[in-house]
């Protein structure tokens, strides 16, 4: 039973990291219609930055903050490439973000080499309800919760957040009232970078990160985002947590080698079911 609880909490921590990546995907997709393939890259950039900054002797807190900001800048640059040019279709933009992700490989290898790097996080572990859990896992859950609360406040309460929602809700109307939809798209990309960066900073102490970790991250993030049809943040969060717990349970009870297949298989099933439902709807409406 305590093993179950340990796996559950570990799984929630993994799910939180996936949720951060996925919510970045959703934020960008809602505002711009683009699926950002470089979303996992932001986490990698932040993770590698933290490990370097800490290695150089910068204190905790500052290092992580700087790394997250670096990821936000990476997000902004990705946005400039993907939607900076007028008339780029969402599918072309997806291919461009794919290119950005590969370009990041080149930059990351030059700066950090091709070996995985780690960073020290919160050491030690605690006993929660009879289950041993690493303190870093609790930190991941705590920071993610705080991030989601702030996100909800940002989108629900601030003028800028509402303008972003407006762009997602009706881009033409947003232009009618004078909102620069492209600038808002860039803002969404920067926000996506920020969220990916937080995920990277949180995850690096748990599992070493290397330049090509982004594929696993983006695939998991996309799988979670697909639960919410790439537009619904809350469903995405739930999907991410489910995914994290399912993967950790699979690994914990001895099916570790099939972790990725579980996630990917689940993603395919959800997408195909959704597509089936969509085509029924479109048939009914015609």
């Amino acid at each position: 039973m305590s093993a179950f609880l340990t796996y559950l909490l570990n799984g929630l921590a993994v799910g939180c990291a996936i949720a951060l990546i996925a919510s970045g995907l959703v934020a960008i997709h809602r505002v711009t219609g683009v699926v950002n393939f470089a979303q996992g890259t932001f986490a990698v950039v932040a993770g590698l930055c933290t490990s370097s900054l800490l290695g150089l002797g910068f204190p905790h807190g500052l290092s992580e903050l700087a790394a997250v900001l670096a990821a936000a800048v990476a997000g902004l640059l990705t946005g400039l490439a993907a939607i900076g040019k007028r008339g780029t279709t969402p599918l072309s933009a997806l291919i461009v973000t794919l290119g950005v992700g590969v370009l990041a490989y080149a930059v990351e290898i030059v700066l950090w080499g091709d070996q995985p790097r780690s960073a020290p996080g919160l050491a030690g572990s605690m006993i929660v309800a009879g289950a041993r859990i690493q303190t870093q896992h609790l930190l991941v859950i705590g920071v993610t919760t705080a991030t989601f609360v702030l996100l909800a406040l940002f989108f629900g309460r601030t003028y800028l957040g509402k303008a972003l929602t407006a762009c997602a809700s009706n881009p033409y109307a947003a232009r009618v009232v004078g909102i620069d939809v492209r600038k808002m798209g860039l803002l969404a990309f920067a926000l996506g970078g920020l969220l990916g960066g937080i995920a990277g900073v949180l995850v690096t102490p748990l599992r070493p990160i290397s330049f090509d970790t982004d594929v696993t991250l983006i695939v998991n993030g996309f799988a979670a985002a697909v639960f919410g049809a790439l537009t619904r943040p809350v469903v995405t969060l739930i999907g991410a947590l489910l995914l994290g717990v399912a993967e950790t349970m699979a690994a914990g009870y001895g099916y570790g080698s099939h972790q990725l297949e579980v996630a990917l298989g689940l993603m395919l099933v959800v997408m195909i079911v959704q597509a089936g439902r969509r085509s029924v709807i479109s048939l009914e409406s015609t």
Binding site: V35, A81, K85, T88, P90, L91, S92, L94, I95, V96, L98, G99, V100, G101, V102, L103, Y105, A106, I109, V110, G113, D114, V215, V219, F222, V226, S257, H258, L260, E261, L264, G265, M267, L268, M271, I272, A275, G276, S279
Partner: protein, 325 residues
Amino acid sequence: MIRLVAGLLIAAVTLALPSVLDESALPVYILLGLAAMVTVGVSLLMGYAGQVSLGQGAFYAIGAYTAALLALNGVPPLAGLIAAPVVAALSALVIGTPLLRLRGHHLAFATLAMQLILLSLAGQLEFTGGDIGLQAIPQFSVGSWEAEGATTYAYLTWAGVALVMLVTHNVITSRPGRALRALATSETAAASSGIPVGRYKLTVFALSAAFAGLAGGIYCFYTGYVAPGSFPVLMSIQYIVMAVVGGLGTTWGAVIGASAITLLLQGLNTLSSLPGMPTYAPSVFSYAVYALVLIVVVLFLPQGLLPAVTDRLVRRRREPSVRTR
């Protein structure tokens, strides 16, 4: 007339090259041909069915494993080579039936997922040799004749390229092919004009998989070795880069795109092996080339390199006649 002469000239050069190229250039020539074969399919899929596949490497792998497993179990290599595209196409039909209900980025991720699952399975299953893969695959042979040396594989590869191009040409110029062109621009319009969109898309998907499977089959006999590591995700991205560079939906463009990228990478490879270059130079160069070429072409030459160049040539040729009017 000019086209015929150009075609014959290109055929002659293609046929002459294997006997002229030295031992270091021949492998490049073979890999170029294999890449071209896959790219023709990717270009067809993207240009005519309007779909992005991030998992074309999976069909390459299926072809390679099929041919390797058959050959290792005593089946004549020729039968293995024929089975490679057939099994790849059949897999595409089975996978594609549910997958092709997806569009755009959903399909892109689904095909990527497909490749990741396949690689992971190949790395774990016993009969595929796990992570180590399959080794000591016999040489390609037909009856008592056995392929020896890279020259034979170069001819085999480019015969494959010719076959793939011929098939693609026939598909494009057929009546369904012209219907497919409509499909790429607007699926709804195509569907409402009575084109069986789903069936055509699946056919093109299977055809592109067959091309990749054929390339994989030749590859396994040529290298004598296949493993999950031979088919990274980047391989699938590489075919997209080549297809996009050449111009989507153009048979020749795909070959030119594959050639341009392969030769560019080869040149950079030579450069990066110069003394004083860091050890990571080759991989950094190749990532940077894929990325920059992909981004620049998608944003600034959306038609691809070949159409952009021919357009300019045609315009230049027309300009004087405008003036004389």
